[in-house]
Symmetry: C2
Subunit: 414 residues, 2 copies
């Protein structure tokens, strides 16, 4: 769909300059209108089609959210994102707080204005980064003391700080500050993390928010069904606007990931969106949608582009491989992305081979469009009552990576 650049004038601090006109941008939606509508539930699975109304526009679910960690989806600009049908992107509290810092984002008028994405934004709380990136961390009652991964300076992030930053960022959906433990945690560590998560979720719930900003809780608990149930129920009691399943993209094998989702989902209300954080491959997105998940975010599309890997319905292919050097077909024959409409595998391979940035750009564009398009097809299939068939066919065509296949085989043998 062609992207039209219509001037939106008179908005400080970019007064007098063009901004993107996007179909769904609007004024800040009244809080009472913030809602999630469940439009249809599949009969062959737990999949649902929904519509999430945020302060900066409507999001049809299931939805894949591109990750703009540092205020930019890697190598892709907002126009390209809109052309690809991107509805909502992610920003990262931990990183944006360090650079550019809240002074600048505040002066810019919030994150939407700073990055020129006048459409929905979800920010994560920084919990995952603190628990995985930062060094020398001391977990305290109301948050975590840690050293910046950049310059080693001593910082503190907890429910109050994380919600405060997200309020200033002005994202449409703010995530609670949680304790995200490694998948190798002991039962004792898992329990401690869950208790901390529940306590901190309560604190987050009490914090003031930006006008129209929603807050989502995050359920932890590893693959302990008792912990997953306990955590989910505690969050639901706090009446968040949506519920995420955390601890499902932390290096655990795929079967464990699915189990963690299956253990949590039954305790999440049907009339609120469910968000599986950090997931997944195209095939996993379909399977998770079938398990009742509505929202996803993953760095895979842009991260693997760096290595010249492209996602297709048949699995991932390495465009850099010698096999493609004189292959003048697009990455995927029926793909409507900018890369596939304009360039051949041979050319993209050449670009990647000689280190030309256009190669990385085009693979990122293709992969991102592919993920978004799969979600469009999932929504259409659920709406048309054909999701069961779609799901079956998708899995049949999609060749998982060796790693995933080995993990599945290992579980099957147990």
């Amino acid at each position: 769909m062609p992207f039209s650049l219509t001037p939106l004038l008179g908005k400080r601090p970019t007064e007098g300059r063009e901004q993107f006109a996007v179909e769904r941008v609007g004024t800040v939606v009244e809080p009472r209108r913030r809602m999630f509508e469940l439009l249809k539930t599949d009969t062959s699975s737990k999949a649902r089609v929904g519509r999430l109304t945020t302060a900066h526009g409507v999001v049809d679910t299931p939805v894949f959210m591109s990750v703009g960690t540092q205020g930019s989806v890697k190598a892709i600009d907002p126009r390209e994102l809109r052309e690809m049908g991107a509805q909502i992107i992610l920003g990262n509290t931990y990183h944006l707080n360090i650079r550019p810092g809240m002074d600048i984002i505040r002066a810019a008028g919030g994150l939407h204005a700073f990055i020129n994405w006048p459409a929905p934004i979800l920010t994560d709380s920084g919990g995952f980064q603190v628990f995985s990136l930062a060094t020398i961390r001391k977990i305290q009652a109301h948050g975590v003391e840690f050293r910046s991964h950049l310059d080693g300076s001593l910082l503190f992030l907890g429910p109050k700080e994380a919600m405060g930053i997200q309020r200033e960022l002005g994202s449409d959906i703010a995530m609670v500050f949680d304790d995200c433990p490694p998948h190798t945690s002991t039962p004792r560590e898992l329990r401690a993390a869950v208790e901390r998560t529940m306590r901190w979720a309560t604190e987050c719930r009490e914090q003031p928010r930006a006008p129209g900003q929603m807050a989502f809780g995050i359920a932890q608990g590893g693959t302990r069904s008792d912990l997953r149930e306990e955590c989910a129920k505690a969050l639901v009691a706090l009446e968040f606007d949506g519920y995420a399943i955390g601890g499902v993209s932390v290096g655990e094998p795929e079967p464990e990931m699915m189990r963690a989702v299956e253990m949590t989902e039954p305790f999440l209300p049907a009339n609120k969106p469910r968000y599986a954080m950090g997931l997944g491959t195209p095939a996993q997105l379909v399977e998770l949608a079938a398990r009742g998940v509505d929202m996803f975010d993953c760095v895979l599309p842009t991260r693997v582009a760096r290595n010249g890997t492209a996602f297709t319905r048949k699995g991932s292919i390495s465009i850099k491989a010698g096999a493609y050097k004189a292959d003048f077909r697009p990455i995927e024959e029926d793909c409507d992305c900018f890369a596939c409409r304009n360039f051949t595998r041979a050319y993209l391979r050449h670009l990647l081979n000689v280190g030309e940035i256009l190669g990385l750009r085009m693979l990122s564009v293709h992969n991102t469009r592919m993920f978004i398009r799969v979600m469009e097809e999932v929504r259409a299939a659920i709406t048309n009552g054909t999701f069961g068939e779609f799901r079956r066919q998708f899995a049949e065509n999609y060749v998982p990576t060796q790693k995933v296949l080995l993990a599945r085989a290992a579980v099957a043998e147990r």
Copy 2:
């Protein structure tokens, strides 16, 4: 000007896929129609407005040509190039011959098809790269034996090979294979280079070309007026389609560069385009246009983008500088490029600071559009009879770099 993507189907090998519809793309122009029309000459200087008709479309001169060395203008895609008003781009014989190699480009149907730029392309011959990049070179009668900078393999490039490769690339303008000596050469070395250049130009002239392909001669001679005159006259006698002034972007101080052009230009015919290879800064482009130059190519716009430097009418500014961290103006207030229409200095600075590719992309876009726009303004000024005033004002506003200022001062003191 909005870019419209209209399908052009049925062109092998991209049959069935969309290509860019560009205003001026057409079928290959009949050889007898290949021509340069001199439309107007400025009365206050030697500046001219011209129209060059090539096999893949028309080019209005003076023109700035973006450099797509390896088949891609760094970080910029063809759609962005067209939006910026790019009329013609460069490709590099030396690099493309090594990667992806002629087998692949041949199979793709030529360079235009391979990179999806169905508009004019000029290829340089590889002479400069051989004389500057490659190691262990042995200059022989019919070319240069050298070792590839990539893998050290022994290669040979001379008039026959260079024209042969360019014929296969199918560029609209092919450059002759010349001897481009360092500006520190002795008079003896300069003379030898000029004699070799003249001999090789004759050999190049005899080689077969792609249908509709033009060939330009390259005049060498350093700042020796006798050599410059001799070389230019010899090339003109060979009746090339256009004439380049070489050896003017090889590290010499600006005053020498201008002198070299001034020594050569009087001997070049008015009814053929003049091309100053590898030049220049925006201010230099205006000054060289005033001296009768019609065509320019330079890596500056994209190269300095890497360092966060942006070109403006007032000279170059370092967007990465701390001064801009909360500056919410565009790079240049009245610039119509994608970057200035959509992003602030503060945001771009942040992107550059954290290494996000979008920052590099946007600075490349701004700089390239700036260079192209200066040429548009030069053409308009010449056409309107206001070039003298335009030139004066441009020089008044443009603050050159320290390096250029020092060189000018040094010459003034001699």
